[in-house]
């Protein structure tokens, strides 16, 4: 029975209880507070800071400064030139392989275990390894020369190629595991049903498997892009951090920790977030144009 206060209104706790809010829900508060304090607040703080330029000149001075300075502005295109092809390649190669591996097959566990290694090693170690492995005296160049593919060792580090390779090594397993994880959850009977209805392998892939894998593919593409767009240590270690691989993270880092201009650093971080969210928006928009309909699977 709901009791009434003298004013005849439901007590607040009872009204909340009717909405499903009770003491148990409060258990989520500490986690929300941590994320609020350590993520949302700094983000807003940084946003505010970006409108308070150190040298003055109006609230937009930092943003104007960034876009008017060709060297700074070019970090956006340099980052996108690395991140977009890397993310697209990682996902494009992952889709057919994940489709092949979606059902239990021998060696799947071993393969996924090998794939998880570069993900857990992280970008710093991969870049560190590439310095030796991709270097002029490394095994990769030795193999190319021994196979007669090239006459002299290729220059694969301290440039775009080195950074791109590091993005593939850490990014491909990530997208592959994401897409595979999603594809393994699709009811295999659906594709079998398509086979009994006369659809051959190609038709089955494009009319059934691909649309059903699309949610996983989209998320993998978004996360692969997020990871590649944030490229930082490898751009410094195996790239050319003052030239072709001076990515936007480097610009932000230099503003904060070399020039100690936290306002400008926050500005660059905000621009980075905006560009990234714009790309994610395009990906999600394209997905909804490509394929409409119920996304939930199975029996409903």
């Amino acid at each position: 029975m709901l009791s009434r206060t003298p004013a005849g209104r439901w007590r607040l706790t009872e009204r909340l209880a009717a909405l499903g809010v009770d003491r148990v829900v409060l258990l989520a508060l500490p986690a929300a507070a941590v994320i609020g304090l350590l993520f949302i607040y700094p983000f807003l703080y940084g946003l505010g800071l970006s409108f308070q330029p150190r040298q003055g000149g109006g609230i937009l001075a930092n943003y104007l400064g960034f876009f008017n300075d060709g060297y700074e502005r070019s970090t956006i295109s340099k980052t996108l030139r690395l991140a977009l092809p890397a993310a697209l390649l990682n996902v494009a190669v992952s889709v057919p392989i994940a489709h092949k591996l979606r059902q239990p097959v021998r060696g799947k566990r071993l393969l996924t275990t090998v794939l998880i290694l570069p993900v857990t090693l992280g970008t710093v170690l991969v870049a560190q390894g590439l310095i030796r492995y991709f270097g002029p005296a490394g095994w990769f160049n030795q193999a190319l020369v021994a196979l007669g593919l090239v006459d002299a060792p290729l220059s694969l580090t301290n440039n775009y190629i080195g950074v791109f390779a590091s993005l593939i090594i850490t990014g491909f397993p990530l997208s592959m595991l994401l897409i595979l994880g999603h594809a393994s959850g699709i009811d295999p009977d659906v594709e079998r049903a398509a086979a009994t209805l006369g659809a051959g392998p190609t038709r089955r892939f494009w009319t059934v498997s691909f649309p059903l894998m699309l949610p996983g593919i989209t998320i993998a593409l978004v996360l692969a892009f997020v990871a590649a767009f944030a490229v930082f240590p490898s751009a410094v270690m195996v790239g050319n951090p003052s030239g072709s691989t001076r990515v936007i993270s480097i610009a932000a880092y230099q503003a904060a920790f070399e020039r100690f201009d936290y306002s400008m650093a926050s500005t660059i971080a905000m621009i980075m977030a905006a560009v990234e969210l714009a790309v994610i928006g395009v990906v999600l928009g394209a997905r909804s144009r490509l394929y409409r309909g119920a996304t939930s699977g199975g029996k409903g």
């Binding site: 909405l19 993900v119 857990t120 710093v124 870049a127 490394g138 993270s249 904060a256 029996k299």
Partner: protein
């Protein structure tokens, strides 16, 4: 039906991959990738034991002196202590704070639940460097950065949502009737949590903790932005050692890299006993398979 399962590949049979021409191509791509990753790791390993290694397939001589060199030059023991402290603190805090939140998300529907979910998802959708810079700035403002506390706080941002996202589906698959049954048997709320829910959650907590540990060990950007000179974790120390290269031999840096790899592999190998590698990245919400 067990019979129905037996007839399906989901049951007993694990067919060999049959290779069509396109299948061979994919296998070749996969093999090329795996061979290169393994070769990369092995070349770091070899170099760390090489007395010198130039353009030859195998180093000309072997030695362990780079490990001793790295231990003294890079204050390896201090770095390992800091790494262990950060790892333990982040795992403990994110489990204690994250598990109750995961329970709420798994069991309750309430207004703004989607907003709460978005709040927990957001840190995973934004690269660490983007929020790391304003976060570091804010932490410096409150005199929290440049210390162990700052490093731990910063690492909580990606760790906590990860714990929540791993544990929520885990708690969802524990039958809610088990809790109800315990209550019907006269158990108090505390007893339900401690005697029924907690034991059932241990595998999930263990897996989530180990996965977070692996991630904290590999998390470069946030530690890099918030650590002072005395509280670098291994991965940051590795980055700085590459930076200072020239003064130090490459083999010593590789020795450091091998130590780093070992620290990541131990929790990883334990974690793999509990979880499928595909679950180690983000666990996507998926349809319940029949």
């Amino acid at each position: 039906m067990a019979d129905a399962l037996a007839g399906r590949p989901a049951g007993v049979p694990r067919p060999r991959l049959t290779f069509s021409p396109s299948g061979w191509l994919l296998a070749a791509v996969m093999a090329f990738f795996v061979v290169n990753v393994v070769a990369l790791v092995v070349s770091v390993l070899f170099n760390s034991f090489a007395s010198s290694w130039f353009a030859t397939p195998i180093p000309s001589g072997w030695t362990t002196r780079w490990y001793r060199f790295a231990a003294t030059t890079f204050q390896l023991s201090d770095v390992l202590v800091v790494t262990a402290q950060v790892g333990a603190a982040v795992v403990a805090i994110s489990l204690v704070v994250g598990a109750p939140a995961a329970y709420v998300l798994a069991r309750r529907t309430f207004p703004f639940k989607r907003a709460l979910l978005l709040l927990f998802l957001l840190p995973m959708l934004v690269p660490p460097i983007t929020y790391g810079i304003p976060l570091a700035t804010a932490l410096y403002k409150f005199n929290l950065a440049g210390s162990l506390r700052g490093v731990i706080l910063a690492n909580l941002v990606p760790a906590l949502p990860f714990v929540i996202l791993v544990l929520t589906p885990f708690i969802e698959q524990i039958d809610e009737n088990v809790e109800r049954a315990a209550r019907m048997c006269g158990a108090s709320t505390w007893r339900v949590f401690s005697r029924v829910l907690a034991p059932l959650c241990i595998p999930g907590l263990l897996a989530a903790g180990l996965m977070v540990l692996v991630r904290v060990l590999a998390m470069f950007e946030l530690t890099f932005l918030t650590a002072g000179p005395g509280d670098q974790t291994l991965v940051v120390a590795l980055y700085y050692s590459v930076f200072a290269a020239g003064i130090r031999p490459a083999q010593a840096i590789d020795a450091m890299a091998v130590v780093y790899m070992l620290t990541t592999f131990v929790p990883l190998l334990i974690a793999l006993r509990f979880v499928n590698p595909t679950q180690m990245v983000v666990r996507l919400k998926r349809e319940a398979a029949a």
